[in-house]
């Protein structure tokens, strides 16, 4: 670590840990409700748990991206962050907005639009907050001594993510157009510009961890984000099959979203290829595990499982069933959650000068959480496929089908317990690392 201001990332990462923990709690509430144990219904009805679970995810991933940017950008730009104080202000205000939103959900204060549940007044605060963040990152790069592809890709990913938040606020009285614009935000985030951010962070990690030449890594970065946009932009069409939009989206969405796995496959081959190619034997094996894991699981979860129900003929039956939850869990875990856990695993030992992220515990956290998530995905898959056949193909009543698949939610909760154990160990290691040290470069091994 070359710059003091990189330590700003720590508070963002610590908040990530807290919000991730809370997100898991709300996941359990929903898992139990699906099994029929809904004792909390009067305090936390399902829709409140659902909105909280999803928005905590979005909040901690954004926190993670921001923390990663604050860590990476000074080093790439070769100068201190323009203002440490304002970075802390930006962090604190983001936390306030997120906490207000989550509390509001429990009092029926929201905008019931999937993934964008944050009430409108808070949306404006989010915009102001993100503008401040973009300003801090942007001016640091601008004033810096060098412009690297990695920092430029990361910056444009973050800038586009901020701009693409705006279509979600286009007012419309038509339910179809409401969905249409909503997917501009949600899809173009997760299957578009967030992948730029992901590519930028992965490149940084691969440059650091493998020692492969920057020119080679950044060349492949362009090719992969090129594929992402070639497939992902028009791939938005897979949300426009059955919501009242023109029929041509079936063809356009089908063709382009079928190509989306290629971008993720490219990302996986790229990460593994660079790791094999690199002669550097970096001591932080744990960070390398999460980096490679991220690339591989994002291909399986986002690429392969997304493809499994993206063709319109299949999606006609799976649209609006638990099959979507199956794909969603592993996709977010692989592509974005693991990415943030990777950058934390890499940067934390450097910031704190203490390495609690190596050894048995870190391996345990990595494997347990991943096996747990794979098992959760299988439980969702079994219940989702059963639901599709019983409800959509045979015409059985919704609630009758839900009772048939209840047992799979028991499996889900067991798998989630395993996942939670892994995450628990990770968070424990995070806490044991302590807070960042005053001096720079206390642990040269981990650079």
């Amino acid at each position: 670590m070359k710059y003091q201001s990189q330590k700003v990332a720590y508070v963002f990462f610590a908040t990530c840990m807290l919000l991730l923990g809370l997100q898991i709690v709300y996941g359990f509430i929903m898992g139990f409700a699906h099994m029929g144990f809904d004792a909390l219904h009067n305090i936390i009805p399902f829709n409140a748990a659902r909105a909280t679970h999803n928005n905590l995810l979005v909040a901690w991933l954004l926190m993670g991206f921001m923390g990663a940017a604050y860590y990476i950008v000074p080093e790439e730009a070769d100068r201190e962050l323009v203002s440490i104080k304002w970075a802390y202000v930006q962090w604190a205000s983001f936390v306030v907005v997120a906490v207000t939103a989550v509390i509001g959900f429990h009092f029926n204060w929201w905008e019931g639009r999937k993934f964008l549940e944050i009430p409108r007044p808070l949306d404006y605060l989010v915009v102001v907050n993100v503008l401040l963040f973009i300003y801090l990152i942007g001016t640091t790069i601008w004033k810096g001594k060098r412009y690297t592809t990695t920092s430029i890709v990361l910056f444009f990913g973050l800038l586009m993510a901020a701009l693409l938040y705006l279509p979600g606020m286009i007012p419309t009285e038509n339910q179809t157009m409401d969905s249409y614009w909503r997917w501009w935000v949600v899809h173009l985030w997760v299957e578009g510009v967030w992948e730029l951010i992901m590519g930028g962070i992965l490149s940084y990690l691969l440059i650091k961890l493998t020692g492969v030449d920057r020119e080679i890594i950044e060349k492949w970065l362009y090719i992969i984000v090129g594929f992402t946009f070639l497939s992902g932009i028009l791939g938005t069409g897979h949300h426009y099959y059955y919501i009242g939009t023109p029929r041509y989206w079936l063809m356009i969405g089908g063709i382009f979203s079928a190509l989306e796995p290629l971008a993720f496959l490219g990302m996986a081959i790229y990460a593994i290829g660079m790791a094999r190619k690199g002669g550097r034997n970096h001591p932080n094996k744990n960070a390398l595990s999460w980096t490679i894991g991220c690339a591989v699981i994002s291909f399986v979860g986002a690429g392969f499982l997304g493809f499994a129900h993206t063709l319109p003929q299949v999606n006609m039956y799976t649209h609006g069933t638990l099959v979507t939850a199956m794909h969603g869990h592993m996709a977010f875990w692989g592509a974005y959650a693991m990415l943030i856990l990777a950058i934390i695993s890499y940067s934390l030992p450097i910031m704190t000068g203490r390495n609690t992220m190596n050894g048995v515990a870190s391996g345990f956290a990595f494997w347990t959480s991943n096996i747990g998530m794979i098992a959760m995905t299988l439980a969702f898959a079994v219940s989702g496929i059963a639901q599709v056949y019983l409800e959509r193909k045979m015409g059985m009543d919704f609630l009758t089908v839900q009772k048939e698949i209840q047992v799979h939610f028991f499996g889900l909760v067991l798998a989630a317990a395993l996942f939670t154990l892994g995450i628990g160990v990770y968070i424990y290691a995070f806490i044991k690392s302590g807070i960042p040290t005053k001096e720079l470069g206390t642990n040269p091994d981990y650079h």
């Binding site: 399902f46 909105a51 929201w110 009285e173 339910q175 009242g244 006609m316 919704f398 609630l399």
Partner: protein, 231 residues
């Protein structure tokens, strides 16, 4: 081998072309959607219904056009499936409609709001969703009924499909919350069925079945139909 600047060109050109195509398609979609979604039928009441749908995060449990959460039923076509009266009764007192089942939050809607939600569902019912939701194509319930044609799907009263099948099954179709109605005509007289439907609690004190919003014509039609559903 590809140079870095060639890779950058590939990225920039590809992204620009796709984004441009996406903008053009969006302009075309914005132009076509009003006709496909009967935008002329979006009255003030429908707008209020949509607002209530969002303000109460209905999509946090239900799906509409297949979008939302997977905890409660898909509400696309709910208007034709369950009808006006059932929707109102459900929104007014969800727990009595599905006793002991998965719970829905009880909202205290005014009459105007109930109208708005019903109108919203009625509006969404007519939107052309390119064939969604699909017709169940593996449905094997084509058993010829012993009691003659009364139990055939075509001759059932509409209100039977909308209300009764929400909880009860006939010939294997319908809900599993109340007992099956197969052969109910052999167990109960028409008059008893009529009284039961009119007010279940007055016949059996601990009945779980709610008093449904049925008109006199509905009661006559249903009790006649059910009395003919013999073993």
């Amino acid at each position: 081998m590809l140079s870095k600047s060639a890779a950058r060109t590939f990225f920039l050109v590809g992204t620009f072309v796709c984004f441009f195509a996406f903008i053009l398609l969006t302009l075309d979609t914005v132009r076509r959607v009003p006709k496909q979604t009967n935008a002329d039928q979006i009255t003030d009441s429908v707008k209020l219904g949509k607002k209530l749908w969002e303000d109460n995060n209905c999509m946090g449990c239900h799906t509409l056009y297949g979008e939302g959460a997977y905890y409660a039923p898909e509400l696309t076509k709910v208007y034709s499936r369950r009808g006006d009266a059932f929707i109102r009764a459900m929104l007014t007192d969800p727990e009595s409609m599905y006793p002991g089942e998965r719970k829905m939050v009880q909202y205290h809607f005014t009459d105007e709001e109930l109208d708005a939600l019903v109108n919203f569902f009625k509006y969404t019912d007519g939107v052309d969703l390119n064939g969604f939701p699909p017709e169940p194509d593996l449905n094997t319930n084509t058993v010829v009924d012993e009691s003659g044609e009364v139990a055939a799907i075509g001759t059932r009263p509409k209100v039977f499909n909308q209300m009764c099948l929400a909880c009860h099954a006939l010939q294997g179709q319908g809900g599993a919350i109340g007992p099956s109605l197969d052969g109910v005509g052999s167990r109960m007289e028409r008059k008893d069925i009529y009284n039961w439907l009119k007010d279940p609690i007055s016949v059996k004190k601990d009945s779980m079945m709610p008093k449904l919003p049925l008109s006199d014509e509905d009661l006559t039609e249903l009790s006649t139909f059910l009395s003919l559903v013999k073993e």
